[in-house]
Each structure stands twice: as structure tokens, then as C-alpha cells.
């Protein structure tokens, strides 16, 4: 392995030896991008944030559902209603989306909750294979693209967003930001973590460009934003 590594670095350095000094703007020692000339021109690129209405419109265009709830209890009622309408009685739960009150109210509504926290890895996987729906908490959402953002703090097992056929994600209203560049700028700690971005249900257009939802992951995604008006 070391032999291959040395050979590759040697080949690359020899290849660049003649031209690096004339082609690059950075100094020879560091990886610094040397100033604004090379920074991505994303500031001001985005259209003005269109608010929650825009977020909702984008999600619906992606085939996802959207609900705004004033409180955790109202969010729980919406989720319980949606589950009941679909005849779903079991729900895997990652963490405590929307807080303990939301989860408790779902339990009180007769939903069979399957908390994943504390389960051994294999048991967690098995549970997610079997349940018809999973409830998660998203860390953030990107308004422009209808994207949910997860870190290991809220989604320790990324597969939870891909295994059950229905994914319901809850997040506070204050966590909806304009777009990815705005997220990285306003919450730089996010850039230091593993990330998963989810935009709409799983989909494919590999057969004659016909859009089909639920290719491998959830065919249904609902986003519940809590606390907007407050």
C-alpha cells in the first residue's frame, strides 16, 4: 500500500512540477485557498427567503407532506390523525422528536411506539425493517430546497431515514433556515459533523424519466414544523 501511495504522490508531484508555480494562487505550504477570488460566489446568490409558504410549496412539489403545529401536543394530534387515516398503529421513534410531551401524547392516542434509543444495533435494524413508519427529529431544514438536515445527535442511525416506508420528521420553526450556505454560515458547528440531507420521499426516474416514489427508501415523507406562530 505504501509503495502505491508513494508512487501516486511521486507521479502527481512530477506532473505538477512544471506548472504549479504559474497556475496556482495559493502558497506552497498550506492548503489555504488564498482569498476571496476562490471562494464560492454563493453570498447573495439565493433568491430572498420566501418563508414557510415557500418551504411548504417546495416540499409538496417534491411529493412530501407538510404541517405546522403551534405546540408539541398539536403536532402529536396531527401525526396521530395521519397515522390513523392510513391505518398505521406502530411507530418507531428516534429520540424524542418535538419533546417528551409529543411522544407521550402519541402513546396516549393508542399508537404503539417503538423507541429505538438504547436498542442494540441488530435489534434496532430489525425494528426498522418491520415498522410501517418512523418518527425522527430533524436538526434543521432548508427552506429553498425543502431539505431536512440530520446530524448524529438527532439521527444516530442514518438507516432509520431509509428503511421504513413512511418517515415523519419534526422540527422547531426556528430551525428552518434559508439554504445550505446560510446553514453553514449561521451554524458552523454543523460543518464538523457527519450529515444527512433528505429532500422529499425516495424517488427514481430511471424508467423513461417517469417519477416513481419509494424507490428504496420511504415513499411517504411528512414534515411537521412546531411552534411557528409562537
Amino acid at each position: 500500500m505504501n509503495e502505491a501511495r508513494a508512487a501516486i504522490f511521486d507521479a502527481v508531484r512530477r506532473a505538477l512540477a512544471d506548472t504549479a508555480s504559474t497556475e496556482c494562487s495559493a502558497d506552497a505550504d498550506g492548503p489555504d485557498l488564498a482569498g476571496a477570488a476562490l471562494q464560492p460566489a454563493t453570498d447573495g446568490v439565493r433568491p430572498a427567503a420566501g418563508g414557510m409558504a415557500h418551504f411548504r410549496a417546495v416540499l409538496e412539489e417534491l411529493g412530501a407532506g407538510f404541517a405546522e403545529a403551534l405546540s408539541a401536543e398539536a403536532a402529536a394530534d396531527w401525526i396521530a390523525g395521519a397515522l390513523a387515516a392510513a391505518g398505521v398503529k406502530r411507530l418507531a421513534v428516534v429520540g424524542a422528536p418535538g419533546g417528551p410531551a409529543l411522544v407521550a401524547r402519541l402513546g396516549a392516542a393508542g399508537i404503539g411506539l417503538e423507541p429505538l434509543d438504547g436498542l442494540a444495533p441488530d435489534a434496532c435494524r430489525r425494528c426498522l425493517e418491520e415498522v410501517p413508519a418512523v418518527l425522527t427529529a430533524a436538526d434543521f431544514a432548508l427552506e429553498r430546497t425543502g431539505t431536512l438536515v440530520f446530524t448524529p445527535a438527532t439521527l444516530p442511525f442514518r438507516g432509520a431515514a431509509g428503511l421504513p416506508p413512511w418517515h415523519i420528521a419534526v422540527l422547531p420553526h426556528a430551525r428552518v433556515v434559508a439554504d445550505l450556505a446560510a446553514l453553514f454560515a449561521s451554524h458552523p458547528e454543523v460543518t464538523r459533523q457527519p450529515l444527512l440531507f433528505v429532500s422529499g420521499p425516495s424517488r427514481t426516474a430511471d424508467i423513461e424519466k417517469t417519477l416513481v416514489l419509494g424507490a428504496h427508501g420511504p415513499a411517504r415523507l411528512d414534515v411537521v414544523v412546531v411552534g411557528g406562530a409562537a
Binding site: A11, V12, T145, F157, A205, D206, H216
Partner: protein, 458 residues
Amino acid sequence: MPDSRPEKLKSEIRRSLANSALRSAVARATATTLAKRAAHVAAEPRWEAMRAAAARIKRETVAHLDRYLAQFEAAATAAGIRVHWARDAAEACHHVRALAAAHGVTEVVKSKSMVTEEIGLNAHLERHGIEVVETDLGEFIVQLAGEPPSHLTAPALHKRREDIGRLFAEKLGVAFTDDPVALTALVRERLRGRFLRAGLGITGANFALAREGALVVVENEGNALLTMNLPKRHVVVLGMERLLPSIDELPLFLDLLVVSATGQAFPGYVSVLRGPTPPDRPGPDEVHVVVVDNGRSRMLARPEYRELLHCIRCGACLNVCPVYRQIGGHAYGWVVPGPIGAALIPLVLGLERGRDLPFASTLCGACADICPVKIDLPGHLLRLRGDIAAAGLTGVAERLVVRSWAFAARHPRIYRALTALPRLLGRLPVRAWTATRDMPRPARRSFRRLWDEEERRP
């Protein structure tokens, strides 16, 4: 290199042109994607500024590739990712097979990756008794059909729904249907058990972030998400030019990639991987990355072609190319088709094997106009034509014609006599060209004569 056959370009073109179903499938699919892309670009007033910024960043990264590779390796290793280096396809395949063998893995799941196609990974693993299941729907279809992908982002773009229905009926023993929903559901059901059983998941990466040592995987179906997170081990095969300096550049490159590739605002799933999962959580407890050279350093050594390493494999140049849209991807005879393939193939496989490819272009410039990182593809194709001619690899007839023209151009009287010929004949003697096209009759008086008359006018 698996089943490369760019030498057969001309016969493959004839075959493709005779296949009206292929041509209509490719035309429909590419037109759909182009229309969606155009809508997004029209709504983005800074699109050109974004392209220019991306081109600068790629130029900077490639010009300092050694430094960014070392930085990536150090950060990835610190995060618990095991980094392997492969000079060529054989070494890359060996690394993956060794990992599988070390854990007694006989079944792997894989998500779409052009570099694994390039190194012939599937065939290598299968030869060593390891079953590989492609999990992207398009890749699953072409794997079942025993074909290579025909497009960078839509592997089965050349197939009609009825072709796929018949393929599934024949190979999977299911009742025929040409309903995309039913066909997709069938694949989902078939593959779910495979994800859960596989001992190893293999993916590519759209970007590797040098500062963070992170890998970025972009997809829509969720198959890569499952491939990366259900098996106990995950291997990323990475073309070494896929680096970006840091996560700061990711928003820009995601925008450009996804709009250019599929006409979406954002992909269904983007995973930013930063190492194995802690043991108390489900997920891979080993993450490996195989960094592949396989000719890239040779291309790097040619400054005039280095820009080709900026490609982010969005496939937009294929969609817009009037040649690709007529002949599809398989005619090119290598894993990367279209204008980018026509430029890469002679450089990767050699001028002799790829000598026809740079001529499979109208040089209309559409590929350069659409490229999100502003690669001057027509310029590279033109330069390659010069290299091929200089190497004496053009046909005898072509060399004769060009030399005759050069001679005539140096002798004005002969040149005038020759240019008068079509006017005397009333047409040009190019039957192959006029068999399917109208050739306008030559003007009665040449431009030169008109000009002379104009000059003499008092």
C-alpha cells in the same frame, strides 16, 4: 479496462442510427432533463458566476492535488477511515476483494459509481466468487441485461419501459408489466433482503472534502443510504480528482451538480460521511476509501488536457450533445460516453484506440456552454484531432485530401480552379453526405469574384 471497444465506433454508430427505439428513448430522456435544468438556470441570476467560481476552485484543487490528497488522507485517517491507494484498476480491485475476503464476504451491495465501472470491479469480484448486486434501479436494469450503463447519471436511459418489463419477466421470472411503478416496487422488494444480508457495501463518492477528510455521496433513491449504513463494512472507491478543498465549497458544487445532472434543486439524499459508526449504534464499523489513480496522474502531466480532470460527472454535456442524442452511450465503447468521453477515451486508452472519438463531434460548443465547471470540451477535442493527425493515425484518404488542400491553398490559381469545379458540375461530389441531406447548389459566382467586382466598381 472492462470491455472497452472504442475502435468499433463507426460500426456502433451505424447500429445505433438504425435503432429508432434507442434514438427516441435517448432523445426523450435527454430533452426532459434539459428542460428541467433550463428552468432552474433561468431562475438563478448568478449561474454564470457560480460556474466561474467552480471552475476556479477545481483548477486550484487539481493544480495542488498532491497537497489536497495528503490533507484528505490525514483528516480521513484521524476520523477512523482507512485510506488505501491504487495505482491502477488491478490494484483498486485487489483492495476491495481483499477487504471482502478478510471478512469472508460473499455478497456485496453496490450503489452507482462510474469509477467502479472504469476499473471493472464487478467482473473482478464475480470472478473471485463474490456476488455483486447493483442497487440503483438503472444500474440494476443494465446489470440484469448484461450491459454497461449508457449515461453517467441515468444508466438505463436507452431502454424503453417495455424492454425493461420483458427483461424482468425473462430474468426474474415475474409476470410482464411495463408499469414503472410496479417495476420499481419489484426491485425494491427484491433488493431489501440483499441490503440486510450483505457483508459489504460499495459506493463511489461525488466529492471528497480535503480539510474534513469527509466523503459526499449524492443520490435520489435511498439505495446508497442503505448500502452505506446496513452492511457492517463500507468501501468508497474514489477517483483521486474528486477532491474539493473543504465543506465550504459544497453548497456551490451541490447546486451545480444537481441542477446540471437532473434539473433538480437538491438531490433526494446527500450523505456527508466522516468515519465509522460507534460500536453501540447500527451502521458500518469499518469505512475504507480506495483512492484510484488509474491514469489520472498521466493526464495531470499534460497541462493542455489537465482541465478534463475538473469534470464532476454530471452528464449535462451528454444530454446536450447532438451526437450523443443520436447514438446513445454504448457506441462510444467506454464507461464515460458523450463529449467528455470522446475527450477522455484517447487519453486514457491511447490515441490509437480512441482515434475516432474526437471526430464524433460537431464542435458546436453546446457541451462547453452547459458544463458547470466550464471545461472547454470542443477545444480539447480539436486539440486531440491535431494530436491524432500528428501521430499519423488518420486514414490515408483523409491525409491525402488534407495535403491536397494544403497544396492548393498555397497556390492561388490551383485553388481557384478547384473551387470553380462544383459550380461547373452544379453540385459537390459527396454522395454519402447528400444521401440523407439536401446540399444547396453552389453560387454561380464565387465570393472572391464578387469581391473583385465590388472593388473595381467606380
